[in-house]
Subunit: 335 residues, 2 copies
């Protein structure tokens, strides 16, 4: 197949799909780096959170019916941003400007079990994780200085996870991240022209042509992205149009947990526990009810290394066409 240059309608990413550069998609399979044994794990502590999340916490964890914690929240020991300082703009000179680093950075411990992954967890555990995310959105929405909450997961050392114990993170910022701004602009523009939500349209297209579809149930669909920066890059999208994960119902949480469980089980089996990141994209906290924005989860596998070309140009070279990635994933049988 000749190379193709594709553009993603939501993120505006330009991607070169150069399938001749790679072999089969599964050649990317990496050797799992085993964890050092006997290392102290700060997330394994079975006692309750000793120090409450500062400045205060409305929802420190999710709990099982027997009262044991299923997920909990810890302050990040090395926070990128902190709740204390007052938000202020500082002029360095007439060229450069900066903001004080007000915000938040928390660790969301995703399970009491040190060795679990999304591929091995129960569906109930994944539901607890999603409920925990939902709580943090409600919590941070109350801080008037915060305009956006990035909730994400790094899995595997290559993907930036310094600790093995399953955990997610959140960074609360006084600015709307540029990737979100682009998505918001594109969605707004599309809505103005077509009187339809762009993600609803993408969803309809993917469900119709099925070339990239990898999962579907009552309320959730997942598909490999049309213009993926990384091999196997996928979107997990709620079918009901909604601007934020905060508005998710109990049934939808259950369906989303099923989607995540199936997708990560398949990726695990196909590619041997690959390193990955996912990031939740929602509407900004100060404008929650956006008609034109549709929340979703971006999943990227870290099996390739962006280099000078990608960092300098913002264009990505990907050797795995998403149609091939979907085909491989759909062949995997789990249980």
């Amino acid at each position: 197949m000749l190379s193709e240059i594709r553009k993603d309608p939501l993120s505006n990413d330009w991607v070169i799909i150069a399938s001749e550069r790679g072999g089969r998609p599964t050649d990317l399979k990496t050797e799992t780096t085993k964890e050092e044994k006997g290392k102290f794990c700060p997330f394994c502590d079975s006692s309750e959170v000793s120090e409450p999340v500062k400045p205060h916490s409305i929802c420190a964890a999710t709990f099982a019916p027997d009262g044991k914690w299923m997920t909990r929240i810890l302050p990040n020991k090395y926070p990128a941003l902190m709740p204390e300082p007052i938000l202020a703009q500082r002029e360095m000179d007439d060229l450069y400007h900066c903001l004080t680093g007000v915000g938040g950075h928390e660790i969301l411990v995703d399970s009491p079990k040190h060795d679990e992954t999304l591929a091995t967890m129960s569906k109930e555990q994944i539901e607890a994780i999603i409920t925990n995310y939902q709580c943090r959105y409600s919590y941070w929405r109350k801080d008037p200085r915060i305009t956006y909450l990035s909730v994400f997961k790094n899995h595997g050392k290559v993907a930036g996870a310094s600790l093995h114990h399953p955990h997610s993170q959140l960074v609360a910022t006084p600015l709307i991240p540029p990737r979100l701004t682009t998505e918001l602009n594109e969605s707004k523009e599309y809505f103005k022209l077509n009187n339809e939500c762009l993600m609803c349209k993408i969803l309809k297209t993917e469900l119709e042509n099925k070339h990239r579809l990898i999962f579907e149930n009552n309320s959730v669909a997942a598909f490999c992205s049309f213009a993926p920066r990384f091999p196997f890059e996928s979107l997990i999208v709620p079918k009901r149009h909604s601007a934020s994960l905060e508005e998710i119902t109990k049934e939808e949480i259950s369906d989303l947990a099923e989607a995540m469980s199936v997708i990560f089980k398949k990726l695990d089996k196909l590619l041997n526990d690959p390193p990955f990141n996912y990031l939740i994209h929602v509407a900004p906290l100060r404008t929650p009810g956006l008609l034109y924005y549709h929340w979703h989860i971006e999943v990227i596998l870290r099996l390739s290394q962006p280099a000078g070309f990608e960092w300098g140009s913002g264009v990505y070279i990907n050797s795995v066409p998403p149609e091939d990635a979907a085909l491989e994933l759909n062949k995997v049988k789990i249980r």
Copy 2:
């Protein structure tokens, strides 16, 4: 120091400078991964290029006075884009579009010596590399389908270099990369408002306050970026306002080679041959004489791993303030 949120005026990058997360800048020093001995190197071949660069080549290499090659050009064995296909837009459906992958992808061998790096090379060798770049701009400018030429170098495995022998690459694309589009827009906007080139203004600011300056000679200055995505991220900038490297003079080539030699010698000594990428930013090929754009080289070290937050938000967390990075570099004595 509290965190700061900074915005780069040229690239629009948002960066969180969180110095509490890291230790001293030099703690980032990595252990060099030694190359496997006895591995065949396709760039070491001392014969002349057996297969000419397709479709034809106006400048296959630079040569020393004794007639031996100093740099040469090879077709990339696994090209991301190829010169053959005809540029065409393809409609996938009413949502997605793509272009055929027309373009070019070449390997620029930077030296006949397998073990040289920018830190160990002679100044004459670096001059030959720059002259070779200049040739490729002139060459690709003649292809009407190509609008931009990304010339870059990956050094070290972590930075995406699969072969040890010193080399650069170029990717010729029928589109202007998004990072360039942003720089072009910001530069144009600034020029309209201030009747001055944005990079000339940045240069003046950096030369005046000296907080981030790391090198200066007659025609070139270099400084750590105000809002760096990566530790030690720097810009190497010609003092004379010019839109493309193609317009560089012999004296300027000599001064640029001196700048690169000094900077990479210092980085090598300070951080033990760190993995890096650099990328040359020039005006698009079809609009060469742009008044408002100023060409430059972006240098990034790959000592940290962008993770879920960075990939999903487009905001970067960096633990090394550029003022500290410049201080460390300015302490290093070479020779």
